[in-house]
């Protein structure tokens, strides 16, 4: 039999975006170490429901670490303490019997609380809409092998494209900055030949949209530490360099502004 844990949880409860929230304490006993963190929350919720209490809302979906829906600050760390792991992939064997665990929503002004542990991360969608794409209408593409992509560029681009848009980078950042998320998309698209036509226009609009929602980057690097996909800080440097270039290249009427 696998080990079982008795835990105490301090969980943030908040009825809605415009009301004050507070921590409530719950007990979770006999938790199997093979459970995921979210399955442990399922058990707490099942107990709450059968006693007629309102269960704790939290975001989750695929439970295999790829959809980016789950979140949670666990003991003050985005997605908990295990490196390169989303909350849904964090397993209870990483905790000890008798632990007290504090669970909060991702906190950032751009991510308002919807209810309990659920936050609204739609600001990320606004950043993508500001240029996080290659404009190729359906049907307009030529044969895929007409555009060779150097393997090194393709691999690095992929490292950036692995971002799941969970928002841990923002939650971990003392400034609630979204540089890692934004630079991951720019790194994905700006490094490959297909992305060159819109490279500098994209960089300018995405960065400025990001700044309208999020705080500023002061190079703490907490975002990378919290990132479940280990997106590299190098992409932020790459983004910053492209942004400076974009400020020159995008001036359609150079010298007149």
């Amino acid at each position: 039999m696998s080990k079982e844990l008795d835990l105490k949880l301090k969980i943030w409860r908040q009825e809605g975006p415009n009301v004050d929230g507070k921590f409530e304490t719950y007990e979770a006993n006999g938790i199997s170490e093979d459970m995921s963190f979210l399955e442990m929350l399922d058990v707490i919720n099942d107990n709450l429901i059968t006693t007629g209490e309102v269960p704790i809302e939290f975001d989750h979906d695929c439970r295999e670490g790829i959809c980016g829906t789950c979140s949670l600050m666990i003991n003050g760390q985005a997605h908990g303490h295990e490196k390169a792991t989303t909350t849904c992939q964090l397993h209870m064997r990483k905790f000890d019997d008798g632990d007290t665990i504090t669970v909060e929503p991702f906190r950032a002004r751009a991510f308002p609380v919807v209810k309990d542990l659920v936050v609204d991360r739609s600001a990320f969608d606004r950043i993508i809409e500001a240029g996080g794409y290659i404009s190729v209408n359906t049907g307009a593409a030529s044969d895929a092998n007409l555009t060779p992509v150097p393997k090194e560029a393709s691999d690095t681009s992929f490292d950036a494209a692995a971002c799941i848009g969970c928002g841990a980078c923002v939650a971990a950042c003392p400034n609630s900055a979204a540089q890692l998320f934004t630079s991951a998309k720019l790194g994905h698209l700006n490094l490959i030949p297909q992305g060159q036509a819109q490279r500098f226009a994209r960089t300018e609009t995405m960065v400025e949209t990001m700044e309208s929602f999020f705080g500023s980057c002061t190079n703490h690097g907490e975002c990378h530490e919290a990132c479940p996909k280990e997106i590299s800080l190098d992409f932020i440097a790459f983004m910053n360099r492209d942004y400076v270039k974009a400020k020159v290249k995008n001036r359609k009427l150079a010298g007149q502004k």
Binding site: I49, V114, F124, D125, A144, K151, A162
Partner: protein
């Protein structure tokens, strides 16, 4: 007599789609903006359709219950996407992909649909590569391919173990481009709860805003359901937690025929369940079978560690039984064989509920680095979940529900039996027959969304120029809204003692036991008596705390589980009536001497499409006969 018109075009198989594209009605570019289209779902099919339709000029509204379109479960597909490019010069062609898909589907799909899918497969690769999808590449910068899931050619394009994620992000970004241009209206955290009909035609939908609880109507000239499959009827599956049948089922209750619900696919390579609180099963990409060898100990209840079991005491049962395909036999064959050995008592792991997938030979042959470059993220995921290192110890795997081939019946234009209502991607039944080949789900979702629906939707819309959308004040909408609100109120007033999840788990046990990998007449009859009893208990004793005026996931789940009950009964009925074994539908009564699926082509070479007859009577079974003019019907053999 059939009431189903599949509208398959005339002509030789290779010309049907081209002829059809020429003969369908077109909508003039300036008139497209006069048509409104609702797309429900934002996965590969929904996002690609919404982006493509809006690029053409249609006014599109997209609805998703997720907080962002990028969360759709297409994102979790790992292995790859087929494309008949023949970049590997190994004899692939559109015809070969067509042939393999019809055969792999155990001759229960429409030839014409499958051929169209194979034709469009090449365009998907071009489109995705142009969007910047980071497919694997060779050192010359050109695209790499691998052989996948039972194919004898290398036609699968892949993006590490994250092909679904990257293709979905491509489609999501195409959609984001259209949202930014003001061409698509996006509604997130909004769940569709009914299709609305006026004079027999789909004229819109009713939704519930999951954050505010607001019930609202939306009208359009066409409604497209891109709402995925129903694998979560088993409770434990590889589907995401929120995947459900509700949109498809509510369309079914409004007149959309539901086809072949008993065709469900059990994926052979998932991590076995570890305890009763398990909330989902995690798939390990089928690509692992390219390099991993599947085995169980020869002896019963062998509790030695796998590395201590000598070669001579191992049974590589797939390699033994199927020397030509070995570990790469199709999914249904691999799954059933795993069940057989586990049922014999040769299962491995603490609960004896798995078989080994061993990479020792691959690591010795290719080195750990090459194995890591191919499967690193999968191995890491496995280790996170199980605490075991697959470079050193064989993985443990067991089959789990993964995909549903059945779904809403559609004609060649992807229109359901409700005029003006379409179903695309996994939500429809059309292309995979009784079993889907690996790397074909992404292909079908994107073919439907990028390259089929944008052509075929115009055929119907062209004749409706000048028709204004029905006002959402029309009684058909207000009545549908009242019904949706009524169901919400009813759930909140039950005040029972058990959670929705409890009922879902119990339902899942019944469906897995009786309508799972192996079905019998007796078991299916049991399902048909036990499921309604549980359903009755659900409506009396479910407990949904909280209100309907803000986020309430119990309430959301209750509606979905209520629909799973209806679906489960229909699955059992469909499985009971299909007195043959084919693909994912295996009836113990119908097997060959060596335990393979035994089809009955004379009596069952047809699609079973079920028509709703109201809540108090069982559905009517209609047949769409399948004809095979281009692929000869044979007993599948992978020996």
């Amino acid at each position: 007599m059939t009431v189903l018109d599949s509208k398959i075009p005339d002509g030789p198989i290779a010309d049907k789609w081209n002829n059809h594209k020429f003969s369908v009605n077109l909508v003039n570019p300036n008139n497209k903006r006069k048509f409104e289209v609702i797309v429900v779902g934002s996965g590969l099919a929904g996002a690609s359709a919404a982006a493509s339709l809006s690029e053409l000029g249609y006014k599109v509204k997209v609805f998703t219950f997720h907080d962002s379109p990028r969360r759709a479960h297409s994102i979790a597909a790992q292995g790859g996407i087929n494309g008949a490019k023949n970049y590997k010069n190994d004899g692939d062609s559109v015809h070969r992909l067509f042939y393999d898909t019809v055969k792999g589907g155990d001759y229960r799909s429409r030839e014409a649909n499958v051929h169209r899918l194979a034709q469009e497969s090449v365009n998907i690769i071009d489109q995705a590569a142009a969007q910047g999808v980071p497919f694997a590449r060779e050192y010359g910068g050109l695209l790499d391919n691998r052989s996948f899931g039972g194919a004898q050619v290398s036609r699968t394009f892949y993006a590490r173990g994250q092909t679904g994620q990257q293709l979905l992000l491509g489609a999501y970004q195409a959609l984001a481009k259209q949202v930014a241009a003001g061409a698509v209206e996006l509604h997130t955290r909004t769940e569709m709860l009914d299709v609305v009909l006026k004079d027999g035609r789909a004229c819109g939908i009713v939704t519930r805003n999951l954050v505010t609880g607001q019930v609202q109507s939306h009208s359009a000239h066409a409604v497209v359901l891109a709402t995925g499959g129903y694998g979560n009827v088993y409770y434990l599956s590889t589907n995401a937690m929120a995947c459900n049948v509700t949109a498809a089922w509510r369309a079914h209750k409004k007149g959309a025929f539901f086809a072949n619900p008993c065709y469900t696919q059990i994926h052979p390579t998932c991590i076995p369940a570890s305890d009763e609180f398990q909330s989902k099963l995690t798939l390990m990409s089928e690509s692992l079978r390219n390099d991993g060898r599947i085995w169980v100990p020869d002896g019963f209840d062998d509790s030695r560690s796998p590395n201590e079991i000598p070669e001579s005491e191992r049974d590589y049962y797939l390699e033994r039984k199927y020397p030509s395909f070995g570990n790469l036999v199709p999914r249904d064959v691999a799954s059933r064989n795993a069940k057989t050995v586990v049922d014999q008592g040769k299962g491995v792991g603490p609960l004896k509920n798995g078989v080994f997938l061993d990479f020792k030979a691959a690591v010795e042959r290719d080195g750990e680095d090459l194995v890591r470059s191919k499967y690193g993220n999968l191995f890491d995921m496995y280790e996170r979940i199980t605490g075991e290192n697959p470079y050193k110890v064989p993985m443990r795997i067991y089959p789990a529900t993964h995909y549903t081939m059945g779904g809403v019946w559609v004609d060649y234009n992807l229109m359901t039996s409700i005029p003006g209502c379409y179903a695309i991607g996994e939500a429809n039944f059309s292309d995979h027959g009784a079993n889907r080949l690996g790397a074909s789900a992404l292909m079908q979702g994107l073919a439907d969304g990028y390259f089929v629906l944008p052509y075929t939707i115009g055929d119907d819309l062209a004749g409706r120029l000048g028709d204004a959308p029905i006002s959402t004040n029309d009684p058909v909408f207000t009545q549908a809204e009242a019904e949706v609100q009524g169901q919400t109120d009813r759930f909140l007033s039950i005040g029972g003692t058990r959670s929705v999840d409890w009922f879902h788990r119990e339902l899942g046990h019944l469906v897995w036991d009786y309508i799972g990998m192996e079905r019998t007449k007796e078991g299916l009859e049991k399902a048909l008596s036990e499921i309604p009893a549980l359903e009755e208990e659900f409506w009396k004793n479910v407990c949904i705390p909280g209100s309907g005026a803000n986020l309430n996931s119990s309430l959301e789940k209750a509606g979905r589980v209520a629909d799973f009950f209806g679906l489960a009964k229909l699955m059992a009925k469909d499985a009971l009536d299909r007195e043959e074994s084919c693909g994912g539908h295996f009836r113990s009564e119908h097997q060959t001497e060596d335990g393979e699926a035994q089809r009955d082509d004379e009596n069952f070479a047809h699609v079973a499409a079920w028509e709703w007859n109201g809540p108090d009577s069982i559905q009517t079974r209609h047949k769409e006969e399948l004809t095979f003019d281009n692929v000869a019907l044979t007993q599948r053999s992978y020996k």
